[in-house]
Amino acid sequence: MISVTDLSKTYKGDVRALRSVTLEIDNGMFGLVGPNGAGKTTLMRILAGLLRPTEGEAHVLGHDVTDPRGKMAVKSVLGYLPQELGLYPDLSGREFLDYVAILKGVAGKRTRRRQIEELLDVIGLADVADRRLKTYSGGMKRRVGVAQALLGDPQLLIVDEPTAGLDPEERVRLRNLLADMAGQRTVILSTHIVEDVSQTCTDLAVLHEGQILFRGTPRALIEQAHGHVWSISLPPGERPDDGLTVVSTLRLDDRVEYRVVGDEAHHPAAEPAAPNLEDGYLWLMRKNVS
């Protein structure tokens, strides 16, 4: 469905955002994970036909996104949520969605209205749909962004940091919505929040400094951290070894429980723990970055 070969992108000032990335993405929910500045947004923008690569090829649904015609063909079947979505403050939520629907080519007033009403229900903004967008909170604006991406029933959905700025309840709802959308279509979810990927994606890639560090299933990434995750319970004031990466900290009444990843935990209180996706991600980054 999506095929990327030796894709590179260099910005002005010799800033290399992507370095010979090769990737195949099938139907379903695909997670693109990596720290800020890893090149995720650049890759997403190239796949969406918004940015030209410096080198390499990218085919989306059989269309070459480096070619003007192919780019337009991709945009016709694309739902895109940019990382920083701007909205027209002078339009209402409903007016904005109607505007985007027409520009996307959703024909027929009735079809448009039906789709917009359904999406407003799904994102929970039906009651405030006639209010101007400038009165919406950050989370509400993000939900409008998700709704516009889903308009026109796109075959390819690219969402860049969709849960940024959402409260926990909204995040869960949005994750579930995106997971429901993935079926016969491709959903690419770019995020630096590993939990978003662990809950929804069946396939993922980890990007770091413009290169793919890992490509596979979440389970395979978790497996990589097997034997490298520990739980250490320490009195307050004491810290685990300097050589370990602390994944999480839980403060109890008289103890502090650390979850750590590393080559070896020498502390006598260290107990092996079953890794999760976040551990797998941190272990991978630790292995490759240090």
């Binding site: 003007p68 780019k71 945009k75 940019p82 701007g86 027209y88 403050p89 002078d90 027409i102």
Partner: protein, 271 residues
Amino acid sequence: MKALRQIAAIVRTELRFALRRGWPVVGVAVIGLAISAATFYLALANMEGLPRDSAAESSARDLAMVWPAFQWLVLGVVPMVSAPAIPLDRQFGVNELLHSLPLTGAIYLLGKVLGTVIAVLATGAATLALYVVLHLVLLGPLRTELYLALILFSALPLLVWAPAVGVLAASGLQTRRRAVLVGTLVGFASPLCWGLRFLPPADLRPFEGAAAQLSHQPISDLILYRYGLLPPYTLPPTESDVIRTSLLALSILLAASLFARLQLHLKEDFR
């Protein structure tokens, strides 16, 4: 069909913005109302002692005096209030989303220009309707032929040209503030396009000649001349003056369109 629907959607949205943000609508309405007020003030002052049936003739003369001011106000103000149409999309950050849609730069540009022009024309029409009603009530019937000629051949081209050039000239900018600045510069430069007759009057010194050229506009002067309303100190324009001005205005509009298209292409990879 899809392209037409997209253009119509952009035009409709631009009209909404014009009404809600107020810039072009307020700008044109203020010009229209100011010129109407000046005309009525002069007409009512000059009508004292005149029979009512000569009011139409008298108000036409007053309109002829005020008309150059209307033209230069339109050319000076309308590009400034129209210019932010495209830069505001960038300032609000909507352009990233627009580029992800199956929308070409030409359609986007056409929709933006048409929407702004229609907003300006609609406001102009509303102000004109108010003027006509007040004229009928206060001064009686007006000279329909003269008004039609001035509206169709003088006001209409300016009310299309000024917002279009304003939008196109500022199309590559990032913020409303910069757009207003560029629109203001366009407004200052517009008289050089619309006002110059290219042939300095022989009986005037250079400075006065240039001032005379800029204070009157060939197209409206020709209309006023044909209706015997051109002030006696103004040299009547020739048809070739009118043709040259029209061709220059069209050329500038075309050049601005190409410039805007190039700007969108270079800055945003619009296709």
